[in-house]
């Protein structure tokens, strides 16, 4: 997808210097079985992206709860593929990627679903289920 010959993930034993996915540089809250999450990170969204349309905003607060992130030395590769980094943290680190071309294909490096525990709306998941609903109707 990115033309990277040996895309790898440090969690699966790859060298963290060259792996595509590397341990996150930021401090991660404890995630042992259901530990309460602390703090949210600001994520800025690219105006006009599918993600910005889904959130109806260009800035969201995201529950970052992942031990891993995209190796920044490869972030530039995305600019040459049809995967786009459309959400970044305060240090420019990738937090949301999506496929160009209007298809519903969005990956986050945070956990939007955790908002359900606070009874907060989750625009991304609502939009995902809505897209699936449209797909199911198109099948019949």
């Amino acid at each position: 997808m990115l033309g990277l010959p040996d895309a790898a993930h440090a969690e699966y034993g790859a060298d963290p210097e060259t792996a595509l996915i590397t341990p996150a540089a930021c401090v991660i809250p404890d995630d042992a079985a259901g530990a309460r999450l602390t703090g949210k990170q600001r994520v800025r969204l690219t105006p006009g992206s599918l993600s910005a349309r889904v959130y109806e905003s260009t800035e969201i607060a995201a529950e970052f709860h992942c031990r891993n992130e995209l190796n920044r030395r490869y972030q530039v590769l995305f600019e040459r593929s049809d995967l786009r980094v459309v959400g970044v943290g305060d240090e420019g680190e990738a937090r949301i990627v999506e496929l160009a071309g209007g298809r519903f294909f969005i990956a986050t490096l945070f956990l939007p679903q955790m908002a359900v525990l606070e009874d907060e709306p989750i625009p991304l998941i609502d939009a995902f289920v809505g897209a699936a609903l449209n797909a199911s109707r198109a099948k019949t």
Partner: protein, 102 residues
């Protein structure tokens, strides 16, 4: 946890969750709850099923994922089979199945 109101005769939307479900993980339980909440919000029936990553790794056929209207790659690494997870993501992409990975 079925949505209160469903339109009679409309098939629930089928969501496949790619991941190795562990009820001890709050994020896995939240994944289910988020789908149920989305169904209530959209007034639509949502059926979801966890698909373990080691059940879709080669030589298993990813085409059984075609029965889903949307695929969600769940958090909680390492996956039992990274190959299985990547296969399903590629499948969603190539078949234009709505996809979210969190």
């Amino acid at each position: 946890m079925a949505p209160a109101a469903r339109i009679v005769g409309v098939k629930p939307v089928q969501i496949g969750i790619i991941g190795d479900y562990d009820p001890e993980y709050a994020m896995h339980r939240a994944t289910n709850a988020a789908l149920e909440a989305a169904g209530r919000g959209l007034d639509a029936g949502v059926d979801y099923e966890w698909v373990t990553t080691d059940s879709i790794a080669p030589p298993d056929d990813p085409r059984r994922l075609t029965r889903f209207d949307g695929l969600w790659a769940a958090p909680g690494g390492p996956y039992r089979s990274l190959d299985g997870a990547l296969t399903s993501i590629r499948f969603a992409r190539e078949r234009d199945i709505p996809f979210v990975g969190t």
